[in-house]
């Protein structure tokens, strides 16, 4: 066989293998552009290559299929189930031809006219009946729709694949008849139907069991037991049909490790155990990326070079071990290396420096607890950025991705001996653990993986629900947590929540947003069978599906994403859908809402300030407020906090016995209180600020809830009250030269937020409204230590800006941090590709300062390497 043909078969088989999964996920998410692009590319490549080899039959089928996919891709034709079935059939035909090619070395004879006619009809937008009488010309199973339980390559085949160029010409035929394990092709629809039927059976069984429990010594009890057992076995059996061995997700890793070992000048072997361990193919697709990332990490950071290993008395060749096994309803995967292990000392040092924990706290932590800090966003101890593991995207992204599918990741590390990450993920997403709660007499399921904690609120000493005007909030460990009133949100009952009433709060996290869902009762955690939402309810984003409980009642599964969106908590939910940056950018624009606190202070219009800037709201008793010279102070968390009056009448001591409402700004060490008359409300609004005629101390006015509202200029007030505080901080940092920061941000409002926050933290900051002015500064020879840039800007956006910086010139090597309203892993990736060093959410001051510190340290470090002293 010609070696070109052998290459073709190898890569075509590889592409075809992933195609079924991609098409099936396309069926579930018909408008997922990433999957669509992948499917298109695979077919396109097959077609493009056929021409070189003279394979007209294959080329024609692939070409016709590509046409249909092309229209799907450009959006001029909707993706339909029938269309996908047709493409799957075309893929089956391609597989059949390839199989023939493989065994005979030439295309088998056959007529594809009918198939091509169907595809062409679909291309023209005509309705196509797929299950029609089209007679398969090959020895195919009747009307194949998808390959399931395909003969999987034995674990050994999943092991190192030699570089394609070095492939021996005689490629063993994996799918050849006779030598493969006995399999048949079954339509996925049939399997899905089976799954549904089994779920129904399980529910009926549960009902029967519940009835039987009341009857002792019934003649039914023994057969019922048996029925129960068989039902469970049947459920397992049906679940298994959706399973694939994990080895297929590992296939690319040997090559990756080989290339990495070459690039890094290390000797590495990859060991795989348990490649035959099975899991749901949907889950498998989702873990491929995190897995690759972790193996990269092990090779890059975990393992030492040969000399270092020799010096440590270890064999020169480092070892990365993959191990998979089942445990309960989970698959456990271990990614281990015998490298240098995590340095507890270095992590501790960094943790303390970034202010994530105090020295005392570190001292009381176990080694394992300290190691867990590497999962914090933006945390990396790698001394220098290497090209392999990239910059900015780290273990936090791996953790987030895994948590999104209900998985957890843990790590074990011993210094000098190596690190092992353990991932535990559910075998399937069709069954999930959920918390069953009740609100206004209705039960709901909340997916366990989005529940952070359960808080009982009541009259006791514990947390209480408080009201800021009509918005319920809860103080939980120094944090002001917005609450969602489920019964109001879902219009179950319209009675307002009574502050202080007794109930539960389910604390949930969506992305970086934490909020509480108020419920009346909490029952139990249950394994539920997730059923998709009926099409008629698909627009109700609050629900992600429904399920049937053991007692036969149907309950809805709440979608914390949808809830956060439904209440305008400003949560971004682009998820997988926003694979392209354009999509992400668009959604960012539509999401430009800010939560603001409305309050009254002095004369005139109500005032507003973004909620994100406020650390706490306090009602201070007048007795605690002390006079200090001309100003007022209060002992607050172990230090003196200046109180600045907003009313414009100077510092007036409140009447004894009364309480003073105070907005607290700043962090734990330094804070400042703004005295206001009354807190009015918390609102989600699109802040459009009209700067005309703004008084001192205000950025301008904005119409919020139909009222003209003055928006506070925090910079002004912080400077007003905190002169001492600023200089004190600045002095402390001035031991070394202040790092120079350039901020490019088109909104004057956000510039005004970031500039004071950073100058307070000891940075010399220059704020500019657009990239063009920034680039002019570059031309003028200005230099900075770091650049912060917004993403969405008119004329030239942040991505173009960073490309211009990376293009050359004196700023080329500078760290550039993206400031954005969203920080989903996809966006992070897109930003990173454009050249951003890091990605920080716009209102997250702590994360921003953390990222700045880290970027500047790395830069200093890199310089110390570049220029030997």
């Amino acid at each position: 066989m010609d070696d070109l043909l052998a290459d073709f078969l190898t890569e075509t088989n590889e592409g075809l293998q992933s195609l079924d999964g991609a098409l099936l996920s396309l069926e579930r998410n018909p408008d997922d552009p990433a999957v669509l692009a992948e499917v298109f590319r695979t077919i396109h490549t097959i077609k493009g290559t056929c021409g070189f080899l003279g394979l007209p039959r294959l080329e024609k089928v692939a070409h016709a299929a590509e046409n249909v996919l092309g229209r799907w891709r450009e959006g001029s034709l909707p993706v339909t189930a029938a269309g996908i079935s047709l493409i799957l059939r075309a893929v089956d035909r391609i597989k059949a031809i390839v199989a023939g090619l493989e065994s005979a070395g030439a295309e088998p004879a056959g007529d594809d006219a009918e198939m091509i006619a169907l595809l062409d009809a679909a291309f023209r937008g005509e309705e196509v009946a797929v299950d029609g009488p089209a007679a398969p010309p090959q020895a195919e199973a009747p009307a194949p729709v998808a390959a399931v339980a395909e003969p999987e390559p034995a674990p050994a085949a999943a092991a190192p694949q030699p570089a394609a160029a070095a492939q021996p010409p005689a490629q063993p035929t994996e799918a050849g008849p006779g030598n493969a394990p006995q399999t048949i092709r079954v339509a996925v629809d049939v399997l899905e139907d089976l799954m549904v039927l089994v779920s129904e059976l399980v529910l009926t069984r549960n009902q029967l069991m519940q009835l039987a429990r009341t009857e002792t010594n019934s003649a039914f009890s023994v057969p019922l037991q048996r029925l129960s057992q068989i039902t469970s076995d049947l459920q397992d059996g049906v679940m298994k049909t959706r399973m694939q061995p994990i080895g297929s997700a590992w296939q690319k890793l040997p090559r990756l490790v080989r290339d990495l070992s070459h690039d890094l000048g290390k000797k590495i072997i990859l060991e795989q155990h348990g490649a035959e361990t099975e899991l749901d193919r949907q889950v498998m697709e989702l873990i491929k990326d995190p897995l690759t990332h972790m193996v990269r990490n092990s090779a890059d950071h975990g393992l030492e070079g040969p000399e270092e290993r020799r010096a440590a008395g270890k064999p020169e060749t480092g070892r990365i071990t993959l191990n998979a096994y089942h445990e309960g309803g989970h698959i456990v995967m271990e990614i281990g290396d015998d490298g240098r292990g995590l340095s507890t000392a270095r992590i501790s040092e960094k943790v303390i420096r970034q202010g994530l924990a105090t020295e005392a706290e570190i001292a009381s932590m176990s080694e394992q607890e300290i190691h867990r800090f590497i999962f914090r966003p933006g945390f990396s101890t790698a001394a220098a950025i290497t090209s392999v593991s990239g910059r900015g995207v780290g273990m936090d992204v791996v953790k987030t991705n895994l948590e999104r599918i209900g998985g957890i990741v843990e790590l074990r590390s011993r210094e000098g001996r190596g690190t092992t990450f353990t991932i535990k993920i559910p075998l399937t997403l069709a069954i999930a653990a959920a918390l069953i709660v009740e609100s206004a007499g209705e039960r709901f399921a909340i997916p366990q993986n989005s529940v952070l904690e359960l808080v009982r609120v009541g009259d006791g000493d514990g947390p209480k629900i408080e009201m800021i005007k009509s918005t319920p909030v809860m103080r939980l460990r120094d944090r002001l947590l917005p609450l969602v009133n489920l019964s109001r949100l879902l219009a179950l009952q319209d009675q307002p929540v009574a502050a202080g009433g007794s109930s539960f709060v389910v604390v949930s996290q969506v992305g970086s947003q934490v909020f509480g869902i108020m419920v009346d009762r909490v029952f139990d955690t249950e394994e539920i069978v997730v059923k998709p939402v009926a099409p008629i309810l698909r627009d109700v984003t609050m629900f992600s599906g429904n399920t049937i409980l053991g007692d036969g009642s149907v309950i809805m599964i709440l979608d914390p994403n949808g809830i956060a969106r439904g209440t305008g908590l400003g949560v971004e939910t682009n998820g997988e859908a926003a694979a392209t940056l354009t999509a992400a950018t668009r959604s960012a624009e539509s999401r430009d809402h800010t939560a603001v606190l409305l309050f009254r202070a002095g004369e005139g219009a109500p005032k507003a300030v973004p909620l994100g800037l406020i650390a706490r709201l306090e009602d201070l008793p007048a007795e605690r407020i002390e006079q200090a010279g001309d100003s007022l102070v209060v002992q607050y968390r172990g230090s003196l906090m200046p109180l600045i009056p907003l009313s414009g009448y100077g510092a007036v001591m409140p009447a004894p016995g009364s309480k003073q409402a105070v907005l607290v700004f700043g962090d734990g060490a330094h804070s400042m209180g703004l005295m206001v008359d009354e807190i009015l409300d918390v609102m989600e609004t699109q802040l459009v600020i009209d700067g005309a005629g703004a008084r001192q101390g205000f950025l301008g006015s904005s119409v919020i809830a139909d009222k003209v509202t003055e928006v506070l200029d925090c910079a002004y007030w912080l400077h007003q009250g905190g002169a001492d505080w600023f200089s004190a901080t600045a002095k402390a940092k001035e031991v070394t030269r202040k790092p120079r920061v350039l901020l490019v941000e088109d909104s004057s409002f956000f510039r005004n937020l970031v500039v004071p926050a950073l100058s307070a933290a000891g940075y010399a900051i220059t704020g500019l409204p657009n990239p063009r002015e920034a680039l002019r500064l570059r031309e003028a020879g200005e230099m900075f230590d770091i650049i912060l840039s917004d993403i969405n800007m008119p004329e030239m956006d942040g991505l173009q800006f960073v490309r211009a910086i990376r293009d050359g010139g004196p700023w080329q090597e500078l760290p550039v941090i993206a400031l954005s309203a969203q920080a989903e892993p996809d966006d992070v990736e897109a930003g990173r590709e454009a050249g951003f060093t890091d990605y920080v959410a716009k209102y997250d001051r702590d994360a921003l300062i953390g990222a700045l510190t880290q970027a500047i340290e790395l830069q200093v470090f890199a310089r110390s390497i570049d220029s030997p002293v």
Binding site: D7, E11, F40, R41, G48, T49, F52, R806, D807, G808
Partner: protein, 136 residues
């Protein structure tokens, strides 16, 4: 005896077959070949050593040809290297998109020796003594 001078070329395609075909044709005509399977690999290869010719596929995983091309031109300017875009999509706009992104020429797949060398001679890269009509 003259010392043979080779022209460094980078073949970027996710298909091993296409890379191999291109390699055979180009090596026969005095090019020295490196290969890349996607745009990112190609960028890495270019950073390592600048070729004079890039034969570039459009549709690739990780980073497609257009994106690679934009970055290539963004980073290294538009004069070097010469980029010939491979395409199977005859549609005018696809070809235009490639040319606008900075390609110097395009070639339709499947190409053979005559077609490819013909295109290369148009961009002034066919080595001396090449006769497109001579039997391959």
């Amino acid at each position: 005896m003259t010392i043979p001078v080779t022209i460094p070329a980078l073949v970027v395609d996710d298909s091993t077959v296409v890379r191999k075909v291109a390699r055979r044709i180009l090596e026969k005509h005095g090019f020295s070949i490196r290969e890349a399977a996607d745009g990112q690999q190609a960028l890495d290869a270019v950073a390592e050593d600048m070729p004079r010719l890039v034969l570039l596929d459009r549709n690739m995983p990780v980073m497609d040809g257009i994106e690679f091309l934009k970055r290539l031109r963004d980073t290294y300017g538009s004069s070097e290297p010469t980029v010939v875009m491979c395409t199977t999509e005859a549609a005018q706009d696809r070809i235009m998109e490639g040319l606008e992104a900075g390609a110097d020429e395009y070639v339709m797949k499947p190409f053979d020796e005559a077609i490819l060398m013909d295109k290369l001679s148009m961009v002034g890269l066919a080595p001396e003594g090449f006769d497109p009509d001579a039997p391959g």
